[in-house]
Subunit: 284 residues, 4 copies
């Protein structure tokens, strides 16, 4: 591999630094420009579905769509060209996302009525996550992600139990209210139960009988109470994650713990603290 | 009892290992097959209530219902046959659930219009909990359950106080808005208050007068604020449960606490940790 | 006062033990009977507002109302008679509540159309709190109450800030949507904003213009985010209250803290713990 | 600057103490009177939009508007006159707010139809924050603010991720339900998704197709689960902020920590505590 890198043209290497890297000013400008293109192209897709804009500016929007499609195609080509391992890149998660952000545009432009390509074109928003790497935000996201991982099993049990309750309540409401009051089938009744238990409450289907309203009230109270459970689980985990980040070091002199991550000296006795031996930023 | 076991046929013993046990591959396959049957049979009940499916596939659904009913009957018979104490099993919680998952199917198949059997047939979903024993998830559930037990008294007080507030608010709204604006009786007004205080808000009954809207706004703010209380109670308990699990051991060398449950060595100084003397998994 | 007590009749003293006390079996039976009467009399008021019940059983309900009114009048008379200081009792909080639970019944029975007495008659539910003293639940309620007191200033600031945001958003929506779309005045707009920010969402008033819907979406996101704030405040306080109850004692041998309130021995080393020197139950 | 202060008239100095200060009784009365004026003037703006009040008391309301406008103009003039640095004051945040609370009144009174001035006139509510300085509430607000600052990056990541999910779900629902069922464009679909994911649920747009209702149910469950995330983040931070305030001191004799901020002696051994060396109140 090292030979491979040595034999490649300097242009290729420089391109790679700009396109894949984020450390040089050029790399940062490229990322920002790309982000602007992504946001604008998605905004175009959104606006094109609004009747007024479609009628008035439909022509311009279509032209701009072609422009963005060409830009993203060029970018994909360049990435393929300057990647150290083009095949590995093309198969990687981001490589597929990059391809998917180009392909549907061609499909949509060639087959004007293909509405379903809308969704795939909007998926290109997820490319922003890569661009955001240049921000330092991700270590914060890691704390969240880790807390969610740690609590995922408890949350799974929670959702499993809730879905059992939902199904039983749906069957009960179907029997009590019946098709005449809008509960035309159990799947529709499940829809109603979820609308109710999550406290959304559209009101497109509502219980009409006294017994149905009593069960509905009971369902709401369940939803209202159990919302506390995932909150409790996640809060406990986030507290531990945040605490773990802070509690790593204790003062050698007074044994105070709970120092901030950027603290150099003990906030109580002023004694110098050990440097953090666990690199916090690298735990992605 | 030991004589009893020794005198029984090897077939019976083997069947018991498969049907009640989860340690052998055969036992695990049996559980998975049973789970699939339960889910499919409930899905059938759901689909049968949808107009289109009932018209098109009603015949097939009825046949499949018979098939599942026979499978569950066979299973119940086998459980009775190979249980060490058939009477104890038949009287146990799961024994009754197993029977209930078979009986209503016969009722429903013999009396086609008996809608109410729907609900009991769906209750068979709860049998999944037994099957899930083969997963390790339950220790996670125990932490949740214990936290809920510990906070149940605080939560009871909370719901008791809230229901008093609900009743008074309902009476006030009945007097203020009256039957002309949809608050036709206090029980109906209670339904509205619960819809409002849980922030569901169907909109099937809404206040029309200025004073009524002011009281409604007040009710919403109450509901919005007090949602914090059960969350706070439960979070505090879950934090303690999680913390208790972690704080059990301290490193003999550096006295670090808060080790993960599966940690063998201190994460700070590498000193070997004592094994957990309180068996966490057995506390079901 | 001691003379006063000595000179009073034994009947009076015994009555007081039964009516005000909760330690003797007779006192407990009295409290339970009273609770049943309160609940039944409130249920009567509720049922009487339902059209069907009023038509069918109106006569019986009115008779029962008289029965309960006489019972509560007798009880109030007995309380006045056997209280050590009748005047102090009559002026006390519970004395006034007891009187209020009797008076409106007479008013309502004499003036049949007086709807407003409904509310006061329902206020008698709060008498249940006194009866509940016989349960041990109140120490749990104290933890909640104390946590709420401790966080009341933070919660006040929160509600003050939110109400400023609500008012500005209401004015903006009134200007943007206007009377034609249901926002007929700023007070009505405030009602809409509270319906939206608390995520109730009746749907009786909804934004129709694009700009209005954008502001509405913004309002919802605010409501959705800030719901976290009172939860966070209260959870932090409840955690501290729960922690304070537990952290009072440390083991003399191994210095473990965080013992349960009813623990007699250290759960880690088995050393006997000091008895609680701060009486937890008496802090009402 | 000191010369400047010495050469100024005693009247000016006294006025400044009253208008800008809050330590003297006169200064406090001035602040309270100002607060009453602000609240009353905003209440006037609110009432004037109600049809009935506008018709009946329109004349009086307009006169009172003039009165308040003159009061606020006088106050602004006095502030400019007695400020130590009039230009600095006029440019400061509060100086601009003070000016903005006067200007739109003139505009609104001269151009009666100018509805948009409503909003600016209501912004004068924010002047109450200055007046509230005389209350001690702000240290409580600081804890909240600091917790929010600390968690702002996590919350930003959260909202960024949510908005990506919202956009993709909106596009999916637009394709699935289409303009015939009320999802007339993607921006409108975004409005629907936010109404649903925040569990507001107006019900002005609801899914009609089976697939649409399934996706809607999924959206609600997402909204219901992720509401736990900002709560968890904020609770963890508030707990730390509250804990940091309490954990500052430990008893010199028994090493108990977690003392209340106003504690003078250790609550366990009675030993005198060190005074707080970190001034908590001054961190505004």
């Amino acid at each position: 591999m090292s030979e491979n890198i040595e034999s490649e043209s300097p242009l290729k290497r420089q391109l790679r630094t700009i396109i894949f890297g984020t450390d040089t000013p050029a790399g940062r400008y490229f990322d920002i420009a790309l982000m602007v293109c992504i946001v604008l192209s998605v905004a175009l897709v959104f606006l094109d579905t609004v009747e007024v804009f479609h009628r008035e500016y439909g022509q311009i929007i279509r032209v701009l769509e072609w422009v963005f499609t060409i830009i993203f195609t060029l970018e994909y080509g360049l990435r393929l060209y300057c990647a150290t391992h083009p095949v590995l890149y093309a198969r990687s998660f981001y490589g597929i996302v990059d391809l998917l952000s180009v392909l549907p545009s061609y499909l949509a432009l060639l087959i004007p009525g293909a509405n379903f390509t809308l969704v795939i074109r909007i998926l290109r928003l997820f490319r922003i996550f890569r661009v955001l790497k240049l921000l330092r935000y991700l270590s914060e996201g890691n704390v969240l992600l880790r807390a969610m991982m740690q609590s995922s099993r408890k949350v799974f049990i929670f959702f499993f139990s809730v879905s059992l309750i939902v199904m039983v309540l749906s069957a009960v409401m179907y029997v009590v209210e019946g098709p005449d009051n809008g509960f035309s089938s159990i799947p529709k009744s499940v829809y109603w139960t979820i609308v109710t238990i999550t406290t959304v409450g559209y009101g497109d289907i509502t219980p009409k009988t006294g017994l149905g309203q009593a069960i509905a009230a009971f369902t709401m109270l369940i939803g209202y109470s159990i919302i506390a459970i995932p909150t409790g689980i996640l809060t406990a985990e986030i507290s531990q994650e945040v605490g773990r980040h802070r509690d790593l070091r204790s003062c050698n002199q007074c044994h105070k713990t709970g120092h901030d991550l950027d603290a150099m000296y003990c906030s109580r006795c002023g004694c110098e603290l050990d440097s953090l031996d666990v690199p916090v930023e690298n735990d992605a």
